[in-house]
Amino acid sequence: MTVFFHYSLHGFANVYLVGNDTTKEAAIVDPAAFTIGLLNFIEDKGYSVKAVLTTHNHPHHIDGLRTLLRIYDATVYSSNATIGDVQCCMVRDAEVFTVCGLEVQALSVPGHSADSMVYLFEKIVFTGDTLHAGLIGKTMSQYGNKLLKEQLSRKVLSLSDDCIVLPAHGPPTSIGAEKLYNFGWKKTKEDMRGDQYDLFV
């Protein structure tokens, strides 16, 4: 398995290509904007896109979907039945399925959005907007924040410390690093500010 990273200026989002080195088939995780740069990137690597995994349906992560599907005959996996007018193969929490010959597990982690999915390939977890390096996803309410933390704690932080975290924004990280250096586990914004200001004194 090979993972490539592409930075999309549309929403400053990360797009990932997960390739099966044997079959030269690939899955795209979160096709932000489908630009000529991304197309060249895929073609240069010599892959044929057979699957798209969407972590959630916020526009700057799925806007490239329709264009991608005009070029590649790919199955779209999502926790939604449809994204816009695109029919999806619905995946449920803890469901294990195969894409491009690679085994993947879907984990439902609501909070940032109700449809947020995390995808686990071996020891690589694509967390979408649920977990970024040093931060957890933005939520619209205290309930959402609490739910997100509880779901992350139960389903994502329980993975081994050397598991690689590839988020939809920002740099890569690992489960071990996120357990120790993530502001999301602080109780309130005041706690975080307090820590900062105390230490600047």
């Binding site: 050397d162 890569p172 690093a177 502001f183 975080m192």
Partner: protein, 199 residues
């Protein structure tokens, strides 16, 4: 991607190192393996998919080499010369890095989270989209570097300089700053307050 198969030792969940069934803790000869890897580096410029997590490397000149998808997590790097190297999707999490030269490197989408840096130079480097969260630096320099979209959350800086750096979209939320210079850097474009986080 570097190999992600688990160590063959019972109850060990860590990934096995390069050309081995075991992780660095359970490998019968980690020192020999480090030497073998360094010998292998000597003849090649592009190093791909190498898992050297937890190994110890010292006093080697790897200047100008290109590393793609390699792991040096929890490794110990001493007196190493990585100047002008290229790194893509490489992991240096929880590394101990002492007296190493990373000047003039081009590192993108790499993680140095939780690493300990002592007397390390990153001067004149492209450090775009990298994770330095929880990193602790002493007597280090990032001067004249591009830190676009990198993160320094809960990091600790002591006697560390960031002179004339590009800090656009750089998250700088350290938990400790002592004798740090941000002179000539565009700190106003960095994200230094949580209210500016909009993802």
């Amino acid at each position: 991607m570097y190999e992600l198969h688990r160590c063959a030792a019972p109850d060990c969940d860590i990934t096995a190192v390069h050309n081995s069934e075991f992780c660095s803790d359970h490998h019968p000869d980690p020192v020999g393996l480090s030497a073998t890897i360094l010998q292998k580096f000597a003849g090649i410029d592009v190093i791909k998919n190498l898992n050297a997590a937890g190994l110890r490397f010292q006093s080697a000149n790897l200047s100008g080499k290109r590393f793609y998808s390699c792991s040096f997590s929890k490794a110990m790097l001493q007196n190493m010369n990585f100047s002008a190297c290229t790194f893509r999707m490489c992991f240096f999490d929880f590394c101990f890095i002492d007296s190493c030269d990373f000047s003039g490197i081009d590192a993108q989408f790499c993680s140095f989270a939780g690493a300990r840096f002592l007397n390390v130079s990153f001067e004149h480097s492209e450090l775009v989209h990298n994770n330095f969260n929880g990193a602790r630096t002493n007597d280090c320099t990032f001067n004249y570097s591009n830190l676009y979209n990198s993160r320094f959350i809960m990091s600790e800086f002591e006697h560390t300089d960031f002179i004339d750096c590009n800090l656009k979209r750089t998250f700088i939320l350290p938990s400790k700053e002592m004798e740090v210079s941000w002179r000539l850097s565009n700190t106003q474009e960095a994200i230094r307050e949580l209210d500016r986080i909009d993802q």
